[in-house]
């Protein structure tokens, strides 16, 4: 049974890429570090297998031969200092042999100096924010797996649970330094192919780095329990050639400017409601639920609530600045003025909340600007 399984593992390790849906071993990954770690992993794995074979070998041999039913008589020895010394020292030596490459790899991993690009990665319940330091590029990355797929009402797509709206985009062949932190609870930013995993600690910054040689799409997940939607907090990294990356960067800066100007335009109620619903689904529904009913005693309802039907400025304030000490985040930086206006309008008019209130993007933009000062 066990032997068969080990055999499986062994045969699988020889064909690590064979079948994506049947992967048994660790991913070898694409960076230098991930290769070192993979090799280290295989080394210790084989050492462990060897030890297991020897120990269990002797044991099963005596189980087979030294059984009473085969007439074995018990021998009366119960001490041997020499043997004891040997089997204390031998493992010790093996451990030292493992510790050397482990130390070397670790030292390599701990050197974030001389980076070409600094990116601040911030964990939020339950999304990531990427800020390109010194580049004025700053966006959020949300999961886009539809709830129908999660609830088995629609067939699951290929990258089920591992897909986001705005992937992190980085240039290939450049050393990227990540400054990882969080605003609420502890998250952990993990991309297996880079062998980068670092906890995001609120109030502190952890450094990590990577240098990806090949362009490609790499997927990962949050790996520290961070509340309800911990399992739905994917990471997608889009590695592009440096030229493509520069192009993307320029686009992003453009988009920022467009957003600024569109914030000044008035929008129709229909447009706001339509946009608002989309924003609501991606940013609010995780807690307040699609039907706006929330979860009793955990997340407040919006449908018919005082917040969404009462004083409008309080409502805006709550959405923009959040409520400290609760899961309600400050969305001021997370969403554009248009999105904010839309979602607040939506919340005030969806379900049974027929307040008829309409929030203009310009008004929100003003508040956002005021807060910046």
């Amino acid at each position: 049974m066990k032997a068969a399984l080990i055999l499986l593992l062994v045969s699988a390790s020889n064909v690590p890429y064979a079948r994506a849906e049947w992967q048994l071993n660790m991913r070898r990954g694409v960076t230098d570090i991930s290769h070192s770690i993979f090799d280290l992993h295989m080394l210790i794995f084989w050492v462990c297998v060897a030890i297991a074979v020897v120990v269990f070998g002797v044991m099963f041999w005596s189980i087979f031969h030294h059984r009473k039913s085969r007439g074995a008589k018990a021998h009366n020895f119960h001490e041997n200092t020499l043997v004891e010394i040997i089997w204390t020292l031998a493992p010790f030596a093996i451990l030292i042999a493992m510790a050397i490459p482990a130390t070397a790899t670790l030292v390599k991993m701990y050197d974030p100096s001389d980076a070409d690009l600094d990116i601040q990665v911030t964990g939020y319940q339950w999304k990531w924010r990427y800020q390109y330091l010194g580049q004025e590029v700053d966006f959020f990355s949300n999961t886009i797996t539809p709830s129908e797929q999660i609830n088995n009402q629609a067939p699951k797509s290929e990258h089920y649970l591992l897909e986001v709206d705005n992937p992190l985009v980085i240039p290939a062949g450049k050393k990227i330094r990540f400054l990882i932190t969080s605003v609420d609870v502890i998250h952990s930013w993990w991309v297996p192919d880079f062998a980068v995993k670092k906890d995001a600690i609120p109030g502190f910054i952890n450094e990590s780095w990577t240098n990806v040689p090949e362009p490609g799409i790499y997927r990962g997940q949050c790996t520290e329990l961070c509340g309800k939607n911990h399992g739905f907090m994917p990471i997608v990294v889009d590695v592009r050639t440096p030229a493509d990356y520069e192009l993307w960067l320029a686009q992003m800066k453009n988009r920022k400017a467009e957003e600024q100007s569109s914030a000044q335009q008035s929008m129709s109620m229909e447009a706001l409601m339509e946009k608002g619903e989309a924003v609501y689904i991606s940013s609010c529904a995780a807690c307040h639920q699609l039907n706006g009913e929330g979860i009793p005693n955990v997340f407040p309802a919006l449908n018919g609530s005082l917040i969404a039907t009462g004083d409008i400025s309080q409502h805006i304030d709550l959405v923009l600045n959040g409520k400290t000490g609760t899961a309600m985040q400050a969305f001021r930086e997370q969403l554009s003025a248009v999105d904010l206006a839309a979602v607040i309008t939506y919340e005030r008019n969806a379900w049974n909340n027929n307040t008829g209130d309409k929030v203009e993007p310009a008004a929100i933009d003003e508040l956002k600007m005021a807060a910046k000062q």
Binding site: L179, G203, I205
Partner: protein, 293 residues
């Protein structure tokens, strides 16, 4: 080790009653404390009070029961040794409890606060707290809105120094009382132990004065960042232990008055004395690491 027949007590109702009392206490405390935020649950208070009362009665009855057994000579020297081991390991567990808080203190002082202030391996963290400068005692916290730091900290060379002197002398007086007990000098025991109790009470009163000053004048509160947190947790739990110790001293003192102890059978007294030395030693650690350095 001698092996007389070991005293195995018969069935007892105390333990399960004590478990119920503890449950009431804990459940009540939970309800009460949660009620602080949601303004419900005065039942919590009722439960806590009844749990405390029940526990006090049980402890009183249970200990009286044991004292009676002891007076009847049921406990062999071997049983006496069991009590000694019991008390020693209990004190060890208490030490470990304090180590958790001392550990927290050392960690924030030597690692967390410097990191937040931009020093050391995780100094980049200072990006999130612009303008924050690490210092200890921590008067300016990273976020002064959420955790307003204290204006000043307690001067170690006034009340704390006096308190150190008081507590150290009380360790001597309890030892003198012990010697007197062994030499069967009754008046001396009563006096020395009485003095120890007085010293304990004085210590506690001075702590109260110090806390009042901290809260009212220095703005040093549980809320004033991690300095206040470690300060009050360490001194607070120490104070709680001194209170317990003082109560225990008072009870043994009453027993001394009743003539419960003989020169060679007075473990109840010794246990309290050990405990008293323990709170004393913890205080010395506190004085050094919380107040002075």
């Amino acid at each position: 080790m001698s092996h007389e027949t070991y005293y195995v007590p018969a069935q007892s109702r105390w333990p399960i009653l004590a478990s119920i009392a503890l449950f009431l206490l804990a459940y009540g405390a939970g309800t009460l404390i949660n009620g602080l935020k949601t303004e419900t649950g005065n039942i919590g208070l009722v439960l806590v009070l009844s749990g405390t009362l029940m526990m006090a009665l049980i402890l009183f009855g249970w200990f009286r029961h044991i004292i009676n057994e002891s007076m009847e000579g049921k406990f062999s020297p071997q049983a006496d040794l069991s009590f000694r081991w019991g008390m020693s390991w209990f004190i060890f567990s208490e030490i470990m409890f304090f180590i958790a808080f001392f550990g927290a203190l050392f960690y924030v002082r030597t690692l967390a606060v410097p990191w937040l202030g931009g020093e050391g391996e995780k100094g980049v963290s200072n990006m999130l707290w612009e303008g924050f400068v690490a210092e200890w005692p921590l008067l300016t916290t990273p976020d002064m809105q959420q955790f307003p730091g204290a204006k000043a900290v307690i001067d170690p060379w006034h009340l704390p120094l006096i308190n150190t002197a008081i507590l150290i002398s009380s360790s001597f007086t309890i030892t003198l009382a012990h010697h007197a007990l062994k030499a069967e000098r009754r008046t001396a025991i009563v006096l020395w132990q009485g003095l120890t109790i007085l010293l304990g009470i004085t210590f506690l009163s001075l702590q109260v004065i110090e806390y009042a000053e901290a809260y009212q004048e220095l703005g040093l509160t549980l809320h004033s960042g991690v300095y206040g947190a470690t300060f009050f947790m360490l001194t607070g739990f120490h104070g709680l232990h001194v209170t317990m110790g003082t109560l225990m001293l008072i009870i043994t003192w009453l027993r001394v008055l009743k003539g419960h102890f003989t020169p060679d059978n007075h473990f109840g007294f010794e246990a309290v004395a050990w405990y008293w030395h323990f709170v004393d030693v913890v205080w010395v650690g506190l004085f050094l690491f919380v107040y002075v350095f």
